[in-house]
């Protein structure tokens, strides 16, 4: 069983190495994700964010504008995920001490 798992990890690594050999070179300016029109003919949002972020919000940090303005509903969802994680920890560990006292 252990050798099967090791074989699985090696196969996974080799598959990823094979797939990575077809990826474009890192950092070239004419990569697909840096062009203005994607393969399917729709505009790519990355360029719009860089060009219009300062005009839209007067904020030099483009990451902040994307986080707080363009994708703000996404950020609201992330914040609710963090809040829910805190609530789950609170509810899971709330009665731990009382349970130990009841066991004794």
């Amino acid at each position: 069983m252990k050798y099967l798992k090791l074989l699985l990890i090696i196969a996974f690594t080799l598959l990823l190495l094979f797939a990575a050999s077809d990826l474009p070179y890192r950092g070239e300016a004419d990569n697909q994700m840096n062009q203005e029109i994607s393969m399917t003919g729709t505009p790519v949002p990355g360029n719009y964010y860089i060009q219009e972020a300062y005009n839209d919000a007067h904020t030099p940090n483009i990451v902040t504008v994307i986080l707080g303005d363009y994708r703000s509903i996404d950020t609201l969802g992330e914040q609710i995920v963090i809040f829910t994680a805190g609530l789950i920890v609170f509810l899971l560990l709330r009665n731990r001490k009382e349970d130990e006292e009841n066991d004794q």
Partner: protein, 122 residues
Amino acid sequence: MLDFFMGHYAYWFTIILLAIGLYGMLIKKNLVKKTIGLSIFQAGVILFFVSVAMKDGATVPVKADGLPVSEVANYMNALPHTLMLTAIVVGVATLGVAFALLINIYNRYGTLNEEELLDKIQ
């Protein structure tokens, strides 16, 4: 050949991280070590996204004097940075949930070893 290496070595380091994380999740018996493997796997994915956002000759996505924003090649792609910024903090919060579950498992069964745990559950 050197171009191929310089263009791809970041992906290879990412794949090494993914393999280490998968090794921790599959081979190790302790549940805390499995959780650490999950965290390493997540770090590999985050590093892959950030390394993909890189552009040669570009600067960080903060508007600077003397670099007009109309020229897209001056700034890196900011969208992967944003996505990974939220993913890191959410990853920390969900790691807290995982450790809370492990604390409850330990208090109930007295062990964190996978095989002993399967024996005790049955």
